[in-house]
Symmetry: none
Subunit: 127 residues, 4 copies
DNA sequence: GTGGTCTAGACCACT
DNA sequence: GTGGTCTAGACCACA
């Protein structure tokens, strides 16, 4: 289904949430679809079940999935996703930080803009 | 001189390095200017000296400042800053991640683009 | 007959017992009325028969229904309902917890009181 | 500081979050106050550190506290508490469920109302 | 089988 | 010292 990058500084559970968010938002995982059980994904990825559960719990909290004990975990309706005003601000702050870094490193605003366009175009096509 | 945000989950030493980078690149701290001693800044900010030390070490490693033993720490010539290829890649990755997050949150490509322009304009003005 | 909410974290068997209690106490299901067989309700709701069984067992234990072996399951006389002292305490505790939560969330005592009245009025009308 | 009820069906981490919410909202823990470190509280309560951390993480998410790695965990400004519309709804639903239960058990609306007043008065005085 | 909670103990980065 | 993440393995209620 997907691979983890153990060398990455991103924590495992965050790699998992991010990947699921991507799969869900791009429509590869449709609303209502069953996602792997905690134990199954744990085996598949070679990761401890607690780690998977942490990821699932976070995804549920943010409205991407819902869980029914004893039944399984399912992709929620996209309309249930709560675009936390706070989350948007956090993402903006992340981007702001990245651009700052680039400009400090000597890149011009034009070069920075190019990167932004590149990423957005890429993501835009998925939709 | 500047404030720290303990609530933020950005590490303190990173908040310090970022702030100094900003001050240096925008010219508020000119080449050759003396910056506070570890001990002084530690008291001013109410932060552990080791933390300041770590920030200064990092700034020196990246060429933003230099230390004259027994004399003090000074702002380096901007031309000494090493535009670490690695650092550029890391910054790009950060930005990429931020935009992904925005799009996952349900923002349209147009909205994301607006944010990009907004952020870059902000930065452009600093320069 | 009624819907289940898998998204809710209330267990399915509890959703079922609660719904039956409501139907019985409001008189929609009269004393002596036959209720669906485990198998039928299981099919109707798309739920595991064991779950229905558990709900019926609980309802019987509390005196809401009774089973005539080989004939079916029936609504009991309301006078047979055992007002478990324990259950009353549990319910009170639940309410107490809910109000605490509301007050912790920053609502004023007045606002909480309003909600209490609102909820009780709702229920009063059912009776 | 406080005791846990191991016989309770409430999970340990939830008992902890609830207790802290109470202490914070009643002003017993003032804004900015340092709360015990994960390890300390873990020893005090005889509970695994992970369990304490789960509680703290939840409290932070809801805005009751904030954490600074390497420094400690602190009580946040009450204004930072996010009265999640959802949380209010959940609490209301809890109360609704409790009242239903009481009325099903044969209590009158008046008796139920008395309980509500009792709890609210109790809590109101704390403030 | 499912998810949810908990323990014990380890390792990490930051202060 | 602090919090944050992860593993291994256990137990529970629910379906």
């Amino acid at each position: 289904m997907f691979e983890l990058d153990l060398r990455s500084h991103k924590s495992i559970y965050e790699q998992i949430t991010d990947k699921f968010k991507e799969l869900i938002m791009t429509g590869e995982l449709e609303c209502g679809a069953k996602i792997p059980s905690v134990r199954d994904l744990s085996k598949t990825l070679g990761v401890n079940p607690n780690t998977i559960q942490k990821a699932y719990r976070e995804l549920e909290r943010q409205g991407y999935i819902y869980t029914a004990t004893g039944v399984g975990t399912f992709v929620a309706d996209k309309r249930d996703i709560k675009p936390d005003h706070e989350a948007v601000e956090k993402a903006k702050e992340t981007i702001r930080g990245g651009f700052k870094e680039l400009l400090y490193l000597g890149l011009s605003a034009e070069e920075a803009m190019k990167i932004a366009q590149e990423v957005i175009r890429e993501k835009g096509e998925d939709k």
